[in-house]
Symmetry: C2
DNA sequence: TCCAGACTAGACCGATTGGTCTAATTCTGT
DNA sequence: ACAGAATTAGACCAATCGGTCTAGTCTGGA
């Protein structure tokens, strides 16, 4: 059974992705779900608490994608990493090229909310950490130069990806994402 | 003489950079400047009109930076391009690593406002266009491979920069910006 | 059967929002 | 000096904001 809480998180994810935090009113979320206000404040302490939990919900999806792609032993380590971003690009497309929730909320809120700033930075470093594991595998295989700093390279990939995701959102177009991946993987191996 | 209009645009730039659009109330801007509401609505049709003009104000600064860096004939074309981004990094530092206004407003508003989406995409393409000119010079010099697509490469640089700027904002740290530039310029020439 | 706790339901609250309006004041050209 | 335009000044407005409160409903265990 899809609980009230889950429905709020799911619809909240979609609405936060499009509207951002401050442009999303509680009432709009309630109207979209048909859930009354009392239920919302039963399940969540505040709007901020809610949005932070939506980020957790989003991160669960990200980790599922990482599990699926990075765990595929039939493909070379670098291919697995690229697979994850191709998967993300497909997800963005399905959502109308709204980009990444972490990038959106990070940009909007990191200037005024330390809670969100730390949270989202932590999410990024967690994703980068998992990518670094695959990059290290690639290094061991000789697919990356032996002197490669894989954590550095993973952070770089994520940062550039977020920039390309913003451009993709502005243009409603996947081209910047694809271009960035081509450039990165050509450059990283040499 | 620094006019009321100019003071609103200048203070508005600083406040929008930190707070974003929706978290910035007109009243907060008026309190910060000591300017009454009547003056604001005399000079600007609406909050949206104001923010769009702040973007213009910001772009004037960007163009001034581009003029200063890209016009320096004493340096190689690729060095001039890098100079511009180093200059931007210094500006970000002075502002407390709040990143780029275009990235911030682009992320926050491109999901809900076509006006901002088109405006900011246009700003990006304009900056990329100017960078492409210097890249083309570099290509002519042989500093870039002859087959380089300079417009493609300029867009890529800007996109990755914006991503690094977000990370820099999250971490209050210039390292992601520097790392991205090192990676890019090493990769682009080969 | 009945009770306790989880949950739903929505009226209601003070504060704040973007925006309007009119009166007062300052500036500018003659 | 004076007229008229530009600008300042801030009270005021309806709408919306996030959040509270209480009453009612549902559900599982004793």
């Amino acid at each position: 059974m899809r609980t009230t809480r889950q429905r709020l998180l799911e619809e909240g994810l979609a609405l936060l992705l499009r509207h951002g935090y401050n442009d999303l009113g509680i009432q709009a979320l309630l109207d979209a779900t048909g859930i009354p206000k009392g239920s919302f404040y039963h399940h969540f302490r505040s709007k901020e608490d809610f949005a932070l939990q939506v980020v957790d919900h989003y991160m669960a999806e990200v980790h599922a994608g990482l599990d699926a792609c990075l765990g595929d032993r039939s493909r070379a380590p670098l291919e697995r990493v690229r697979d994850f971003f191709e998967l993300s690009r497909e997800k963005y497309r399905r959502e109308g090229y709204m980009g990444c929730l972490l990038g959106g909320l990070g940009q909007e809120l990191s200037g005024v909310s330390e809670a969100f700033r730390y949270k989202i930075e932590w999410c990024f470093s967690e994703i980068a950490g998992r990518i670094a594991v695959s990059l290290e595998e690639a290094r061991q295989c000789g697919d990356l130069p032996a002197e490669t700093d894989v954590h550095h390279l993973a952070g770089l990939l994520l940062d550039c990806w977020e920039g390309a995701a913003l451009r993709s959102r502005l243009r409603r177009d996947p081209a910047p994402l694809e271009a960035m991946l081509d450039f990165y993987f050509r450059a990283a191996v040499s």
